[in-house]
């Protein structure tokens, strides 16, 4: 039965996580925006709140159908949306889980999940000369006896400094293209693995973004995550292998899109609160002859945000119900990424000098929002994925 509404149980999740965001994150938002590269010590509180909420809702470790009210992915999107209403940068900086954990859970074997599932894992894909074109990476992995030798440079690694370990993408043979790409788990402290530097950024300054160097870094043979040690010569098997690695994104994109929704809502809420001080009231459903320019603008932005939110919820619901969601995950990420950015910038404009000033957080939201339309696949990559699926095209037809 079509019912795109949240059951009471998930509404409770929203309320609890919103409170946590308001009382734990908001008070320290500006502090860590200013103190870039300082680990936020208050974040353990947020993890505790999330864990308690998860237990209360009865969300299990394994995916449970949304039909049972407690779909794990929809629950996750809803709770992180609220945490990011508080602060996206701080949410990303909360200790314990990074994007590497999603990869371990998606492609790791049982032993690997048991060994590293609970450790804080970052994800290292991007290189100075390979961003969205991730099949073109140059970091190499060579099997030498019972060890892999990793060599190369990774950039823009979220949690790269503070995490316990890193999932690193490397190629077994660069001339073989995407069929030769594998991911490996490298633990902190492994000789040959160093954190070279941290980036100074436009936004999400509470989150550390590192450059990692692997120089003759030797790791155990069993640290190869998913995929085979040999390069498949069979084209279909090879495609499946890289596709498997890319599948992680179908799981993480709804989450990143959820962040943009939370941020967009935060900007709208704050804008309304500031406008209310000067007597503003919404006028939903009015015609353009009745509405002021601001009422008209806020209604449109709210509509766009709600549309993005429903796309994202749907993509998470599909995951919970074991439906392939690659197209929908990209639809949600494309829409949420651009709308989160547009809303936050527009809110700064609407609130004029107050919006632009550091007295309020609107200017910060507008800086934080930009990355959400870039990482985990840029706007343009999402459009490519959606277009290829809608038009039935391969990546060689539609480049």
């Amino acid at each position: 039965m079509i019912h795109p509404l949240l059951p009471d149980q998930l509404q409770k999740t929203q309320e609890t996580m919103r409170m946590a965001a308001e009382f734990i994150l908001r008070p320290i938002s500006r502090k860590y925006d200013k103190a870039e590269h300082e680990p936020p010590i208050e974040m353990e509180q947020l993890n505790q709140a999330a864990a308690a909420q998860k237990k209360e809702t009865g969300v299990g470790e394994d995916s449970v159908k949304s039909m049972d009210l407690t779909g794990r992915n929809l629950w996750a999107v809803i709770s992180l949306e609220q945490m990011c209403w508080g602060d996206v940068g701080l949410f990303l900086a909360r200790p314990g889980t990074g994007l590497g954990n999603a990869a371990i859970m998606a492609v790791g074997n049982k032993d690997q999940k048991a060994k590293w599932g609970k450790r804080w894992a970052a994800m290292a894909i991007t290189e100075p000369a390979a961003g969205s074109d991730s099949k073109n990476i140059s970091t190499t992995a060579v099997l030498d006896g019972d060890e892999w030798v990793i060599d190369g440079e990774k950039i823009y690694v979220t949690d790269g400094d503070r995490s316990d370990c890193v999932v690193v993408w490397a190629t077994l043979n660069k001339s073989m293209g995407k069929t030769a790409i594998r991911s490996f788990l490298v633990e902190k402290g492994t000789p040959g693995f160093t954190v070279a530097r941290l980036e100074k950024k436009l936004g999400i300054r509470a989150s550390d973004t590192a450059t990692l160097i692997f120089d003759n870094c030797r790791i155990p043979r069993e640290n190869l995550l998913g995929g085979k040690e040999e390069i498949e010569t069979d084209i279909d098997a090879a495609k499946k292998s890289f596709g498997g690695a890319m599948q992680t994104f179908d799981n993480t994109r709804p989450m990143v899109a959820g962040m943009a929704i939370g941020l967009g809502q935060a900007a709208l809420d704050m804008t309304r609160a500031l406008l209310a001080e000067e007597g503003y009231e919404d006028k939903f459903g009015g015609s353009m002859h009745q509405q002021t320019a601001v009422q008209y603008e806020l209604e449109m932005l709210e509509a766009e945000l709600e549309a993005a939110r429903l796309l994202v919820y749907k993509s998470a619901w599909m995951m919970d119900n074991k439906m392939p969601n690659s197209k929908e995950a990209s639809m949600g990420k494309a829409k949420a990424g651009r709308i989160g950015n547009r809303i936050s910038l527009k809110c700064v404009e609407i609130c004029s000098m107050q919006g632009f000033s550091e007295e309020h957080l609107l200017e910060k939201f507008s800086r934080d929002s930009k990355i959400l339309d870039i990482f985990e696949g840029t706007q343009q990559i999402q459009q490519l994925i959606v277009a290829r699926q809608v038009l039935g095209k391969s990546s060689s037809d539609l480049k």
Binding site: M1, I2, P7, S66, M331, D397, K399
Partner: protein, 373 residues
């Protein structure tokens, strides 16, 4: 954060019953409505033969109470929205040729007095669908959409109506009009006005779109009616805002059907059309327009479903309906214009339906009360 409560899980799959109705109406849209859209537009109305087929869908008798010859089934808003989406996939005008009378029947079945029901409902089942013209679209553009450009003034047992209404579908076929009018207190209600009443002046209006059905404009000057001609009786008051909001969800559902039609048309076209030695859809500038079309269409679908689902919960759905309507109006027109753009010069001609969809989609956000959920 929400003002509803429900134990039902989040779900976007059709129930078995919804799927059956969907399949049936979508097939009807593809085999009966789409192929006849141009003919209806050229003739300014659907052919008698097609009207009979539309009537035979029995969508209206379904909701008419048994006492008045119908089946008396309560239809939920989500299912209504699905039906509108499915029909508009064929053609928006032809879909409205049933959605407008269906809305009138819904309004009367829900709000009319017993005498009014007895007078007007049976004809929906055994007569013309168009015996009552719905006059809700305002003739003045500065009037609040939740108010009327017709003013109602009480004078003893009588009510005097003054003002104009536009966009009355099949107005020339009607014998009676159900007109919205605002009184001094700002309350907006509906009134039955007979065609032969003094002070009623009817004229035909053509529009840039929705040409598959005839429209009338009605001008009321000092039109004196009896207080009993108020919908629901003299002391009844309709929640007019809720009626407008419901019909805005309906218009959005129609827009959705047309948007899906545009998308399904441009995909094969751009895949087959070759320029510079390859299909034009191999270019990002073309492909990304189509990606966005797919994204916004899917988003509109979820917006429509959510608004309808909220209405089914009997909670305040004003904000959600407003957002959906705004979204449908903005993105519907964007999809309409992109549909023509993707076909280039070919899209501008009558050889393809995209120019027709372009004109019809302009009605979304303007036309009120063309369909209800």
């Amino acid at each position: 954060m929400q003002d509803y409560t429900t134990d039902h899980p989040f779900d976007i799959s059709l129930s078995e019953e919804q799927q059956m109705t969907w399949d049936m109406l979508r097939k009807f849209a593809e085999t009966e409505l789409r192929p006849n859209a141009r003919d209806a537009e050229n003739a300014g109305k659907p052919s008698e033969e097609l009207l009979q087929k539309i009537k035979a869908l029995d969508l209206i008798p379904l909701i008419i109470p048994e006492a008045y010859g119908g089946l008396g089934l309560q239809q939920d808003s989500v299912s209504n929205a699905l039906a509108l989406e499915a029909l508009a996939y064929g053609d928006m005008s032809l879909a409205m040729s049933v959605s407008v009378p269906l809305l009138v029947a819904q309004i009367i079945a829900e709000h009319a007095s017993e005498e009014q029901k007895a007078e007007f409902l049976p004809e929906f089942v055994n007569g013309s669908m168009f015996h009552i013209g719905l006059g809700i679209n305002n003739a003045t553009f500065s009037t609040d959409p939740y108010q009327s450009s017709v003013l109602a003034e009480e004078s003893g047992e009588d009510i005097i109506l003054n003002g104009s209404k536009m966009g009355i579908a099949f107005g020339e076929h009607a014998k009676t009009y159900l007109i919205s009018a605002s009184d001094e207190s700002g309350a907006c209600d509906l009134y039955f006005v007979s065609k032969d009443q003094k002070g009623v002046e009817l004229s035909k209006t053509e529009y840039m779109g929705l040409k598959g059905m005839p429209f009338s404009k009605i001008n009321l000057s000092n039109c004196k009616i009896n207080a009993s001609q108020k919908l629901g009786g003299h002391n009844y008051s309709i929640d007019f805002k809720s009626l407008v909001d419901s019909s805005r969800i309906g218009m959005s559902a129609l827009a959705l059907g047309v948007c899906q039609a545009v998308l399904d048309y441009v995909v094969p076209y751009t895949n087959e059309r070759v320029a510079f030695d390859e299909p034009i859809s191999n270019r990002q500038s073309v492909a990304f327009m189509i990606a966005d079309m797919a994204i916004e269409t899917e988003a509109l679908r979820l917006m429509v479903y959510k608004s309808a689902a909220l209405k089914d919960l009997n909670v305040d759905f004003h904000k959600q309906a407003s957002l959906t309507h705004r979204f449908a109006s903005h993105h519907g027109m964007k999809i309409g214009t992109d549909g023509v753009q993707l076909l280039g010069g070919h899209g501008f001609t009558h050889e393809h339906p995209v120019e027709l969809w372009y004109r019809n989609l302009r009605a979304v956000g303007i036309f009120e009360a063309g369909a209800g959920v």
